[in-house]
Amino acid sequence: MGDGAGTVHRSIELRVNGRTYNVSVKDNEILLDVLRDKLHLTGTKKGCELGVCGACTVLIDGEPVNSCLVLASSQEGHDITTIEGLEQDGTLHPIQKSFINEGAIQCGYCTPGMILSARALIDRNPDPSDDEIKTALSGSLCRCTGYTAIMRAVKNWKKYSDETVGHPDDLESYATVGRSIPRLDAADKATGRARYTADYHFPGMLCGRILGSTVAHGKIKDIDTSKACALPGVVCVITGEDVPDIKYGVSPARYDEYVLAKELVRYVGDEVAAVAAVDEETAERAIELIEVDYEELPAVFTPREAIAEGAPQLHDHPRFKNNINTSVEHDFGDIERGFEEADYIREESFTGNHTHQSPMEPHASIAQWEQGGRLILYTSTQVPHYVHYMLAHVFQLPLGEIKVMSPAVGGGFGGKAETTPLDLCASILARKTGRPVKMVYSRKDMFHHGRGRHKQHMQFRLGVKKDGTITAFDSKIYLDGGAYTSFGVVTAYYAGSMMPTLYHIPNYRYRGYRVFTNKPACGAMRGHGVPQPRFAFECLLNMVADEIGIDPVSIRMKNAMDRNTRTVNDLDIRSCEFKATLEAAARDSGWDEKYRNLPPGKGIGIGSGGFVSGAGYAIYRGEVRMSHEKTQKTFMKKAVFPHANAVVKILEDGMAAVLFIGAAEIGQGAETVLSQMCAEALGIPVERVHIRCEDTDISPIDLGAYSSRVTLMGGNAVVMASGQVVEQLLPIAAGELGCDASVLTVHDGRISSKDDANISMDWAEAARIYFNENGPLVGTGFYKPPEGLGGDYKGAAVGTSPAYSFGTTICELAVDLDTGKVTLDKFTDSHDCGTPINPKMVHGQVEGAVVMAAGETLMEDVVFDEKGDIVNPNLHEYLVMTIKDAPEIMGGIVDSYEPEGPFGAKEVGEGSTLPVMGAVAHAIARAAGVWVTDLPVTPEKILRALKEKHYREERGTREETRGTWQEGRPSKPFEPKPVVGKRAPDPKTVRRGE
């Protein structure tokens, strides 16, 4: 129309939270952007921009709407309420309190939208039914909580004043540890105060965008950036020529990515160019104006195509022959003999799905360079230290020249466990322009960047005795890796190494091949590499149990791992109450009454699983320093440097402790549990502990939130640092009290004699005296995993851990036999996480894991077209479970004590994902009478399987049993190896808190 459409600014009056703002907007500006960027009300979040996720929900005239689908210009004369408007005169609305106290907040990114929708609901209906709550909240997606606590928070909203509610699983043995205190960051998240990376704004800040390849495999013949550069408002355009000639990645042996493609692109979305401009809109336009001329090359999209004779090669290197990125060949025991000993052998193939973490907060980075050339990067990451290390590598700077800041993170699930192109491009653009540069992925970018779960093609063979005892297990897996290595080497090892941790498997063979394909690289996602093989194994075990006539719970009990065992692949299991989880889940679900007695269409199924509690070794080798300056050293079976480190500084008035630790809070609750452990070890109330995690300048390094390591490793460092403070404090108190320091103990802000309660003084007073005499009262602590973890074979490091979690889930569901649609009714879960530091948060992790993994089983799948482009790169078509789909979840924690863990604690977040997929698939098989072994188990696949079964039955050909009976050779009684290092006690003998 050429009438300067859209460039005209109009001044409008917006009434927000009772205040009138005069604001100048463009016609095409959406309300969400105006609220965030112009009114700085950043509590309203941007999650999908398509009205699906609900993170941008605001109230307009009291009714919830998606502010991403409302033009700002249309809102004159309306009353808008954002999350910032709920608090009145410093008092939270009861619904906010309820969310805080019920544990309904984890990463907090969905929280503002959820709370506003809930508020609108209770305004029109103070006593909503479950269905009414679900209808009202079904437009807000949550990836963390599994919706269980959110339901509870809305149902119980009237109950809340300022009271904190505990949990039936709370421990009495400690003052702070084992207590379900509300998350320390919950109030900030419930009020919109919590700031995520994209919520930050700096003067002069530019916005950046990345251009991705439009072809799945190609040579870049030419890039013409002239039109983009000429666009007013564009400040800088970079291409492969402008980025260092240094490859980066995750596994040091396979750094294979350039910041921007230098010559070749290997998947649709592979980064080709980047732009910095005065605003997002200009940056977006500039990206569209960059012209790239590709010479398209043939591409491969499945492992089968990729390894075929004559297939195009993604990485021209002899090491990656046939596009095989990593191959694993592991043999433990005597596999041939093991199968000879079996009475029954069952073989089955399974196919996983290509799932994506899809945290509610999109990745974001803001880079700026200080005068003098120091880089400061704000980033939404799970691994501040690895980002720090990788920036140092790419820019060839000492770590001291870089500072990484981690604001609140809206979920990760493995998708933020590596350095992103945003981190690197923002840094380069910021250096070139001399201005801060903010870059945020769109939801579509997130899918194109990928790093989701590897789709695994699994061929399994299991041999058992008549009584169900496992004699041999043979596994062959092709992992669809995508175009680059990312975490893939580790993924391929994990897919094999974790199998023998749950059951005694005397003879085990694993062949794993990670294959390059022209798709986004896959990475680490909750349960890294293990959930799909675990799903397959649990399904196979259930098939075998049914076929040989043993109850699925019994076959697990028969083979279940015991505490203090070294597995066949040399992993040291210390605490292990797996059998207790089986018993508890079976008992609490009424398994025995239900298993064979449900009507058609109803099913109950079981799955088990567990995970590491922190990786035994760091991702990179050697010391903390620039990688190119390190000399190659042979791998020793011990940590080179501490994986977790903490400093505790006592405030000069003695009234508070500041805990400095580089651990990443990504929504899982790291800050809260670390603070609880700090308070417990110091003997002060948790309200007096303030944690600082966000700045690599002030906190010592921690490897981050991956491999479920924070509670155990960070916790140990915190306990040690706090202990050092107490050690320095007790002699002071002893001097004051006139007793021996050895009789003193710290508890609840007092230092008292164990022998005589009357001999006691104020903790803070002792700390003040210490400061007056000695200066700062500081304790430091660190944690190195035990030496000697793992075997002596290639790849033995992957799967090692100081401790392992165990769990069992029982799923009850209904299958509509006419439509194939599955309705999840209930999960009964039992988990061995050692000592729960915060039981309510343990349950929150389990509930979130159940819903995420059940969604992966039923509906999640990234789908590619024949050109390698993603068909569903959005939350409309990539289905994430809504509150309407979520089941009821009954969680239980069994008594367990981990000798390597702080206060006996270990992990929960990833381990609780693992039992779920197998349990769901099993329950479907029981309900429908057919197994679907290809994920996701969609209604359509169920119906197809039913039809095939019906067809077989009509023709009178009964389904042949797929297993083979044989006369098994007699087997020697299997004697597992004893554990190396600390041994776990029988939890019944543990007296906590003493």
Binding site: S73, T882, D885
Partner: protein
């Protein structure tokens, strides 16, 4: 990020049709925006002008005329449909379709007119309104016309609405004694576009009408059953299967859709029978 456009917000219908008079294809009418803005965000549409009709009060009314005709203003939101007393009894299918459409937040913005004009083959209100013989009033500077909804849809996401016209209301003739019903099959229980949806109605004279969505290029009205009634289940199903031509997409294959169409037709017939027995709901 939305492409650039000029935003216009007429305060009256006259003003709106005046603005539309000289418009070409690059002008779009904005109501709730829950489809249009998504399309613009994704680069499917890039209109130069948006005419926001949500500020026109007369388009927000819903109710019966003295003659028992139900008039639903184009800007009535989907949640207003659910809350209105008008969508009960014979009009039950409308309420059922509305309550299955997208999410609560979306329903607070999405409008009846918008849902129909977006003309998605999977649109939920389409089948429900088709079986109730709904007509649309289209107004332009040249005058107005009433067109049956069946003729309004012309293809995938296209309608016979001219650039200069605005849909002002849905007009549903009186249907005493009619029973109607709507069912939706999505992939999940939460928000999802329909894999297949289906509506049915039986008039007081026993006249059966069915309509299905996501099984062809537009929501399909299947009528002309003449002597065939709710009890001729197989004949009805056969007629449905002859009429539909579903495609494969990310939500389901054509084969699955056919099967669902067959199943849901049966379900709709059962529902209608049940409601007839209750003497209309």
């Amino acid at each position: 990020m939305l492409p650039k456009f000029r935003y216009l917000r007429p305060g009256s219908l006259d003003e709106a049709i005046g603005l539309l008079k000289d418009c070409n294809e690059s002008t779009r009418i904005l109501a709730g925006g829950t489809d249009l803005l998504i399309g613009m965000h994704e680069g499917v549409h890039a209109p130069a002008r948006l005419i926001d009709i949500k500020g026109i009060a007369q388009l927000h009314t819903i109710g019966f005329t003295e003659d028992g005709i139900l008039i639903i203003g184009a800007c009535v939101t989907v949640n207003e449909l659910i809350e209105s007393d008008a969508t009960t009894g014979p009009m039950q299918a409308i309420r059922e379709a509305a309550s299955k459409l997208a999410t609560y937040q979306i329903r607070n913005r999405a409008t009846v007119g918008g849902n129909l004009c977006n003309a998605s083959p999977a649109c939920d209100l389409g089948p429900a309104l088709l079986v109730l013989d709904a007509q649309l009033r289209l107004v332009s500077k040249q005058g107005e016309r009433l067109i049956s909804l069946k003729d309004f849809f012309s293809g995938v996401k296209t309608t016979c609405c001219e650039v200069s016209e605005v849909v002002t209301e849905v007009v549903i003739p009186p249907s005493p004694g009619t029973v109607s019903a709507f069912l939706k099959q999505g992939r999940i229980r939460g928000h999802d576009l329909s894999v297949v949806n289906a509506a049915g109605a039986i008039g007081h004279d026993g006249d059966l009408k069915l309509a299905l969505g996501a099984v062809g290029t537009t929501p399909l009205l299947i009528d002309g059953f003449d002597e065939v009634g709710v009890d001729d289940r197989q004949k009805v199903i056969d007629a449905v299967l002859r009429a539909i031509a579903p495609i494969d997409d990310v939500r389901g294959s054509g084969i699955y859709r056919k099967r669902m169409a067959e199943f849901m037709t049966g379900e709709i017939l059962d529902l209608l029978k049940g409601r007839l027995k209750q003497g209309g709901s």
